[in-house]
Amino acid sequence: MATKTIAEINEKIRRGEAVVLTADQAAAMAKEQGVKAVAQQVDVVTTGTFGPMCSSGAFLNFGHSDPPIKMSRVHLNDVPAYAGIAAVDAYLGATELSDGRPEYGGAHVLEELLRGKAVRLRATAYGTDCYPRSQIESDIRLADINEAFLFNPRNAYQNYGAAVNSSSRTLRTYMGTLLPKFGNVNYSTSGCLSPLLNDPYLRTIGIGTKLFLGGAQGYVAWNGTQHNPSRPRNEHGIPVGGAATLSLIGDLKAMSPDFFRAAYFDGYGASLFLGVGIPIPVLDEDLARCVAVTDHDIQTTLFDYGVAERNRPSLGTYSYGELKSGQILLNGKKIRTAPLSSQKKALVIAKQLKGWIEQGDFLLSEAVAPLPQQATLHALNSKDEVK
């Protein structure tokens, strides 16, 4: 069995000799020439996804004013940021909503900063001997503040359930608009291009893995919240529904609005469309089999959002081949399907990452530590339930 190491692949990247394919190309090659050929000839496979990622936000450091202030309440364009950390540090979450302006949230502030626009900072403080000032107002720009880095607790969900609505009213959700009486089905992954579906057991993805984040280079910081690798898998090792997740970190200042877009889901709130791409080193035949995955090999569970419970009823499993065809059959009836994550941008990301590697601008990283391979998801019970 052909095996390679990451160090060997990096040597080839440095020499400009590495063979890099996007995940859809790898799947096509495996179909024509077999998995063995992929293992022997391909060094790296690039993936991509561009979808709404609510669990995102940025740490910002504004610099010190004179006299200095220990900010305790911070607003950016009237969107509250969390300031319960050191004096001029704050965390602005993507889904935090503006106090007054409709359809505007933390993600919109971050996108404006990224586009070089001035953002109004308002901060108040209780005043201390070392930080006497009690309030400040200023216009800040990304270039003028000290640090701005994304630190996202949960991104790049490995698969995600599709959504339908059995109820008699239209539901406006983070899974988009769901029309009554099974009017449509929405799904949100990039299927065979999706990062964690090309290495389903996270053999090559761990803490410290370098990746594409919002148009810049970022890293895996930790496992994401609700990381659940114990989700049941199909015969290809693919979890059938939301499973592993990643916590990602990267420099906002280096990102691009092409891969970073504020979103507002009607009736739900703000979110962030974010581009993520991960390179998968094809170390052996097992990984070659993983990256050869097609939309037909990946299934997800269809959930009924018409039932407002934690455990929404499952209405069956569907492959992304079916979902991406534009319609599926449910109880003998055809239902139209729509994606929420951009398949087009996912491919652009995979191609851009491929380009970086081919040009020697992006070397692969060895994970510093693996991500948990087992997990149990805990539920939150309200006080009256626990007793």
Binding site: E103, R172, G176, N184, P339, S341, S342, Q343
Partner: protein, 148 residues
């Protein structure tokens, strides 16, 4: 035979005139009303399909203009800002008439104005607010009829 989809905007004074009646009787057109939005005493908006001989359609459209009715071709009903659109596909979920479609292999958002019934559902379904409708625009802002 030709089919043209147009929006008519008219003020209260034109409202009394039996517009569709004239289109049928005087110009021999087949008229299909797709959407009507009439605010009594203020403004009326009608989305119509007109079917007939090209010359009759042209004559009918100039009759409408002479009556002070603003005519906008259907291409202008829904405007998609291509710079903000991220081709996510969320809008296609609510478009019953399938005027908005996103399909393999390009996965580019495609808009077919001839299928659009100006229902407006896609406007709020778009998470980046890239879609705008001109259907309910006030008459003053409507493009001049001679562009039709």
């Amino acid at each position: 035979m030709k089919r043209e989809r147009v929006t008519l905007r008219f003020s209260p004074d034109a409202y009394d005139k039996a517009i569709t009646y004239h289109l049928v009787r005087d110009y021999g057109l087949v008229v299909n009303i797709l959407r009507a939005e009439i605010t009594p005493g203020q403004q009326g908006n009608l989305l119509l399909d007109l079917e007939g001989e090209p010359a009759d359609i042209t004559a009918a459209l100039s009759y409408l203009s002479s009556e002070g009715i603003k005519v906008t071709p259907s291409e202008r009903q829904i405007v998609i800002d291509k710079d903000s659109c991220v081709d996510c596909g969320a809008c296609t979920a609510v478009c019953f008439s399938q005027a908005l479609l996103i399909r393999a292999p390009e996965w580019d958002l495609a808009f077919d104005p001839d299928r659009c019934i100006a229902c407006g559902l896609c406007l709020s379904a778009c998470p980046v607010r890239a879609i705008h409708s001109k259907f309910s625009d006030p008459i003053e802002e409507a493009p001049p009829a001679d562009e039709a």
